[in-house]
Symmetry: C2
């Protein structure tokens, strides 16, 4: 392990990690039955673990990732990797989620394309990638698959489930679905159900993919991929992850070439070339169908409807977890008012809830960026729930 | 003229109107020289007039339209038209812009596709539609073409230039470009220069069009049109015209089919089917290349840079117009803070400025919707400037 890895700019790294795989529902007679009623099997989850499981198995932190995330939360696969995992600033020795103390698990979500079963996986029945014959999966289905993985790992209790955005929805779902297994939870920059605005953005992104003729009704795995549509979809996403203010600070009206306008349709402004770059980079690593499936799962998610017959209070009365709810001032995808209403409902049921709205210019993306306040909050909350959990 | 037309739900209509055409720069030796340095000719502007020009020619209101607008501000082309012009709620007998008092002119902007010369027009040099060989036009070029039209109509003074969004940019441009010709101005829901966020939305919309293989580098006039790309572009636009709140009120999470989710990629939510409908409707009436050209013109617009060497105060010192600046609380495309900074700069130069932020849930679109407060404001402002303009 190189010096670089042990002391990179994010602090001490958890070091080298390995992606692992767990497959279940291999028996066609015992598939995973999804919320839609459809069956799926076999199901593979790619996952990674960080830190050491305590003998009492009471130090488990389950990290739940967002739309385009993966199991690679922290550390490096190889000593010469240029970048660590996506939340390396938070997970590692001495960090907000201290891997010297906690045992961290993260699995790639069902429906994704980063090692877990999704529409790009081969359907054993046909020997070809599922494409659109892959059944729609829900946030509940993702959590169900994670629960089966934890059973397999012999882990009963989660000290804390933590995640942002779509990861935060999984956090909430875990709490109400398995109240006996979740001691505490940190939903970050998330909501119990998408607003019309959030659905609208997802729908436009999906339409961009489906408008690409190379999408070919989802059957593109042997030919050209719908890279243009997926790039546009990602650009839409990137706008929602930032904010008016962050874009002004990051780009303003700065030109790509300082001279003057091109007077054609090249990228004149830096913000244009940033979006094009993000779009083009994304298509190299992400599957267009997975984008469709995961955004649809997020749009469908409705904790109130599913667990409380329309009432958030009724839904949260099903959990006993302690909560740290965090929102960010400039997040307009999941604005603070949504977190406040979550917190209000939690408090009404008598739950132990802390709420923090963090001042940030960086929009929805803020939860992924270095933030000392967030790291300190998470660290303090975990220390408290661990202390209080010791019998 | 039917009873319906005279007293429709918008109040008394201005009645039947006719689209007219004015062509200039027909002599190849005297083309319209654009801000980019390129030349264009001949240039046709489609325009409509409403009300009567006073003998003193002192009652002219110039209405400037936004991205997808046209010259058809009010009234009907035919007695059996199902819908009047786009601002019929504001322009007509007894309305905010009273056609019993004022002579209203509106021309389709240069670069558009609703009768004026744009990329879909035939290039006389080749006998084929311009496509991308059409030169980029700017907000300044649009105003220049309008100025030539007014000269042709024998109109020297504009009592008031009024318009929202990109129309508001033209309003501001008129004021600083022709200070002797503009007595007053009402820029609505607009800005002197796009924020990075506004550019980002436009760029994603453009990318959606250009990603459509039927776009064919802009050369699609004899074949299939890039309807999928343009529909996605329009959907992006529609999100920006609304607001989180208006979408919640208009759609919330209501389902298209009340039963339950489709568990496929159909439009489950009403907001999805609204966006699809808007996208599909738009492609029937609008040219994809015009969308590219006009959004680029809007992104390029920078009043401060072009007229004030970076200073809004310096730019506005070039006009003597009286201003009524209007913004809307929920407009996040051109937020109120941008109008406030415009007003601040205007006041610093000693201009006569009224500013009003109108409470509205309807986002950027608010300026196009029935709003008694807005109508009353416009009416009162016009009465005052007319009174004060009488020597």
């Amino acid at each position: 392990m190189s010096e670089y890895i042990e002391h990179d700019k994010n602090g001490v790294s958890v070091g080298l990690v390995e992606k692992q795989y767990f497959t279940f529902a291999e028996d066609p007679h015992h598939p995973l039955v999804l919320e839609s009623g459809a069956s799926l099997g076999p199901v593979t989850l790619a996952y990674e673990i960080f830190g050491k499981l305590s003998p009492e198995k009471d130090n488990v932190i389950l990290v739940l990732h967002a739309l385009s995330g993966d199991s690679h939360v922290a550390g490096y696969y190889h000593a010469d990797d240029s970048k660590p995992g996506w939340w390396d600033i938070m997970v590692g020795p001495g960090k907000g989620i201290d891997t010297d103390t906690y045992f961290v698990i993260c699995a790639n979500i069902l429906g994704s394309c980063m090692g877990s079963t999704g529409p790009a996986s081969v359907d054993p029945k046909t020997g070809r990638p599922y494409g659109l014959s892959f059944p729609l999966v829900t946030i509940g289905d993702m959590v169900e698959a994670q629960r089966i993985l934890l059973d397999h790992l012999g882990i009963d209790k989660i000290l804390c489930a933590v995640g942002g955005s779509i990861g935060g929805m999984q956090v909430l779902e875990w709490c109400v679905r398995y109240p006996d297994r979740v001691v505490s939870a940190i939903p970050l920059a998330t909501t119990t159900r998408h607003s019309a605005l959030a659905i609208a953005f997802n729908e436009v992104a999906r339409q961009a993919i489906m408008a690409d003729p190379d999408w070919n009704s989802g059957d593109y795995y042997t030919g050209k991929k719908p890279v243009h549509g997926l790039a546009v979809a990602r650009m839409v996403g990137h706008i929602t992850y930032l904010s008016d203010e962050s874009m002004r600070l990051k780009f303003g009206r700065r030109l790509q070439n300082k001279a003057d306008f091109s007077f054609n349709f090249d990228a004149d402004f830096q913000v244009e070339s940033y979006l094009r770059y993000q779009g083009n980079k994304f298509v190299e690593r992400f599957d267009a169908n997975s984008f469709l499936y995961i955004t649809k799962a997020a749009d469908y998610y409705d904790l109130e409807k599913q667990h409380g017959d329309g009432s958030a209070v009724a839904a949260f009365s099903k959990t006993r977890a302690k909560f740290l709810v965090v929102s960010f001032t400039s997040d307009w995808l999941y604005p603070t008012y949504q977190s406040r209403s979550v917190v209000k409902a939690m408090k009404k049921t008598g739950l132990d809830v802390s709420f923090c709205e963090i001042e940030s210019q960086w929009g929805h993306d803020a939860f992924l960026l270095p933030n000392e306040r967030l790291s300190a909050l998470v660290k303090g909350f975990l220390e408290r729930v661990r202390r209080e959990a010791i019998p």
